[in-house]
Symmetry: C2
Subunit: 209 residues, 2 copies
Amino acid sequence: MARPKAQPYHHGQLREALAASGRALLEEKGIRGFTLRECARRAGVSHAAPAYHFASIDDLLAELATRGFQELAAAMTAEAERADGEAVEGGSTSRLVAQGVGYMAFAAGNPALFQLMFSREANRLETPALAAAAEAVRNLHAAAVEAVIPHASGEIKQRMADFAGASVHGFISLLLDGQIGGKDSSRALKARGLSLLSAMAETVVRVAR
Amino acid sequence: MARPKAQPYHHGQLREALAASGRALLEEKGIRGFTLRECARRAGVSHAAPAYHFASIDDLLAELATRGFQELAAAMTAEAERADGEAVEGGSTSRLVAQGVGYMAFAAGNPALFQLMFSREANRLETPALAAAAEAVRNLHAAAVEAVIPHASGEIKQRMADFAGASVHGFISLLLDGQIGGKDSSRALKARGLSLLSAMAETVVRVAR
DNA sequence: TCTGCCTCTTTCCATCGTCAAGATTCGGTG
DNA sequence: CACCGAATCTTGACGATGGAAAGAGGCAGA
């Protein structure tokens, strides 16, 4: 009889449940359509229950963004390591491209969350965890660029990290907003994305040489 | 006595007034903090008055985004023509860079509006006017790239237009979100932006050659 | 002048985020 | 094992919001 009742008074993992239902809700309704009450409803608790786990709705959104950045970092490293394993040539350059692929794939799979992460709506809270998670992603970018041009000056590395991050982020952002490739097939869009990534990587290599 | 009373029953230019107060409100409160009632309040009318001019709050936001795109296009062409006038050399390439400067300057001057324009929150309405205004901006990008590499193939032109648009858009987006150059001076940030623009332009030229 | 239409106000409703108060359960202490 | 404070959740309430409905004010053409 120790097993939990169908609807125990104490949820036990409400914070996790809210993060999960909140994420799904965000993708469904978008940032403006996101409501705390609906989020609580889906988690099976009353509308005021989230208050104990999250100070405000912005606090919950900040948590979602934080987890998004962590997952984004994981997606980038996973794709990069996959490239390391199968690549016979290319090395650090193909790793940079693969990391960009991971970035784009995450954004394409979680468009609303991705938008939240890079909207200042989430950054209003400016929690330390959010800042740290976002910085980790930036560091991944910087490290991948650095590996391609290890002998370049610090300033060149910074400029190229700007460049690489901006290209990848801008492309997928415009794509998700429908500003690029309106009615093209998914296959064609991937080709355009890869084309952009290789142009980006070539530029990084060329400028530093 | 024909002059309008202090608060005539019929506003006369309410649509314009709402667009103006809405724009200011958007920059002040951000997308999530934007409310129709506050917007009406600032225009000096009751909270239900906007209903006749805008079907919904999303419709008003779509109008703001549409005007934003028109203004963005104007800022790009103005900066590009300014560059044409003073440039002794460079020609089409310096024009491409200048157009990017205009793009970034508009975004930096209207961060919340810029974010709205490229958030799918506005695009949910998908009004024809909004689509047309956004397309005009895209065409400006494409035309500037085309002028730099007139002899390239159509596919290369498209890829380079993607590349140019993505770089510029990504950089200023990340900058406005605080993901780039956290505590750098405004001067340093402009230098980084110009550096990115020239790297972008060089890549466009190089790939097509 | 009169009449119909456009514009705006007032009123109302369901929903929202947040707060306060009460109910329930948990973990540790006696 | 009994008890009690703290943590967790529910209920109820408040002001604010977007939108709908109904009515009042003002304009233009017959």
